[in-house]
Symmetry: C2
Subunit: 357 residues, 2 copies
């Protein structure tokens, strides 16, 4: 039986420490479930810029392409913020998404009962919230041409980006979204700005058309400004949300913040084929890097998403997810989710208790 | 002494009834402060489509151009949702913004102590929130060319919109924003997506440059996804926000919803010259149209913004705003903001008590 080749991308800031803890968890899970992992590490983001001058070295992309799954931690930091755009850590992230054709980004925002008080919203508003945002990740205004800063006839500068989607780009993300909704509560809300944008009108038409193939999914449409309001007002109305790259960036972050604990949220980025890429929603938190203070649970839950969506090992994924709930139920907390009466732990110790529950 | 010529645009749904109540308030205030109004009414939105086939008849635009201020109620409704884009009510709204060159949209989101329980957020999170979103309104992806649905070489359709800003467009909205911040708490947060978008990079550079002229304003920059999170997590950190058309659409609605009572929120759209346009943030609420149930206070507060920003009558504006607070303090509520122990009123009756306090 072959091995699962997993490329590890520790990146920057707290990335290396949360990923190290996660790999230890995966090793134990791998033994328990007889899943043979073959881990290899590669450079991305600021770490790659420092070592090679580029945020996504060709070697890293090649290693990823040859693996079954990619587990990314976090990228970025003040240090690289002033570099030109092609040398910025974020550019490496965009390049790996494009390079691996990861067009479907799944971002769950789930309220964990143990952490409900961390939310800035009232308990009754967020209790039971369980939203999956399906964000298109390799198209739209992130990649549309033309783009750049040009000089107009009158000699002033004009910054330009293009928000564009083709029918086939819309269709493939819509398909993922309908299938995701089928496995959930069967409700799909497509978010666009069709009252203003032509690209959204095409989006809405194609999603509606695709909906005919999924009579079991209840499809609705919402304008992006209203969606931002409704997420704040009454988030329980949402089950699965599908939207374009930019709207997905904004709304998935808003949805994540409803939970009050973004140190807990994983994500998956998938293409038509392996490898998928799995990463926490939170950033690289350079201010606490190396201090063993970071919360490794979003990274660990990203590894669970990898097992579920990337390696077809749902039982191992369940085991990890249950372990995380159990650790929280037993009152263990890292600093970001600490509250009175709970047991404070560092990053490494959190991984250790997880392996013991 | 000349008259103030105000064009009234009742529009659709609850528009006519909230505007009628507001005009009565203005007439009384006009007498008290010796402000002679000359009101004229014109068609926009669905009402204009029904009467003339167009959402913004040329005659309406001409009347507006010749007036000192425009007071708009609300547009849109299910009835017109399936029409082609150039015949939709929203198109009339975009056309009047462009036609009057209203590039600066001021959207306050203020928590009123009397209504704080209406918020879906915890009291301690929203108490004291007082945000002004300065949204660019005549540029960006709403108006950028090229746009449309085109056929690609492979024969599939491609929807396209262009997000573009020139230096001068950025400069003029930045100027309004810095001056607005000066009159407030002196903090300005510029929101963009400069880590991905070239147009945002230009935006950030120009706003930074303009900031050198306003050493008394504390300028910061934030990515739009983070801003959506921070509005949910800790809205009190914001004073004045400046951003482009699309981000402003999304973030001003999210900010508005923090208050839990968007039936209370006014807005102002200003150009370099008169007339400005003043309208409530909420929509036309077709489901309660004609039932005398609508909350007229956002429209009345929009009239106060008109007095303040459009007609240089700050005392009259103060008077209206204080009246609204007083009405709330005395426990009067329309259905949308009703809570137990308060006195429920219809639209017209709310206007009447306001004139008596
Ligand atoms: C870092 C940035 C380029 C990225 C994005 O905008 O996609 C991030 O915000 C995300 O959501 O993963
Ligand atoms: C109705 C629509 C065109 C409009 C906009 O997107 O600007 C509205 O959402 C607003 O914010 O005034």
């Amino acid at each position: 039986k072959g091995k699962y080749c997993v490329t590890l991308l520790p990146g920057d800031g707290i990335g290396p420490e949360i990923l190290a803890v996660t790999v230890d968890v995966l090793k134990v899970i791998g033994k328990q479930f007889d899943i043979p992992f073959d881990f290899q590490e590669a450079l991305i983001g600021g770490a790659a810029i420092d070592a090679t001058g580029e945020p996504l070295p060709a070697e890293t992309l090649q290693l990823c392409r040859n693996s079954d799954a990619v587990l990314l931690a976090a990228i970025g930091g003040y240090k690289w913020d002033e570099l030109p755009r092609h040398q910025r850590p974020e550019t490496g992230l965009l390049a790996i998404r494009a390079g691996l054709n990861l067009f479907a980004n799944l971002r769950p925002a789930t309220i964990l009962p143990q952490l409900i008080d961390a939310s800035s919203l009232k308990r009754e508003v967020v209790e039971g919230v369980d939203i999956m945002v399906v964000r298109e990740l390799t198209g739209g205004i992130y990649f549309g041409q033309p783009k750049g800063i040009f000089t107009t006839e009158t000699g002033e500068k004009r910054g330009v980006n293009t928000m564009a989607y083709t029918e086939s780009e819309i269709d493939r993300i819509a398909k993922v979204a309908f299938e995701t909704a089928q496995k959930r509560q069967g409700k799909l809300c497509s978010v666009d700005k069709a009252n203003v944008l032509d690209v959204s009108q095409l989006w809405r038409d194609r999603v509606t058309l695709m909906g005919q193939k999924y009579p079991d999914v209840e499809l609705s449409h919402m304008y992006v400004d209203n969606a931002a309001m409704q997420l704040v007002r009454a988030p329980k109305q949402f089950d699965t949300i599908v939207t374009g790259n930019l709207f997905g960036d904004i709304l998935s972050d808003a949805a994540a913040m409803l939970t009050g604990s973004i140190g807990m949220l994983p994500s998956a980025s998938l293409g038509l084929e392996k490898p998928g890429l799995f990463e926490p929603v939170h950033g690289s938190a350079p201010d606490i890097a190396g201090l063993d203070k970071a919360n490794p649970l979003a990274q660990i839950l990203s590894a669970a998403m990898m097992l579920r969506y990337g390696l077809e090992q749902p039982q191992a994924a369940d085991k990890i997810e249950q372990g995380v709930l159990e650790v929280l139920a037993q009152g263990y907390r890292t600093g970001d989710i600490m509250s009175s009466g709970m047991k404070a732990l560092g990053c490494r110790a959190m991984g250790d208790v997880l392996l013991k529950v």
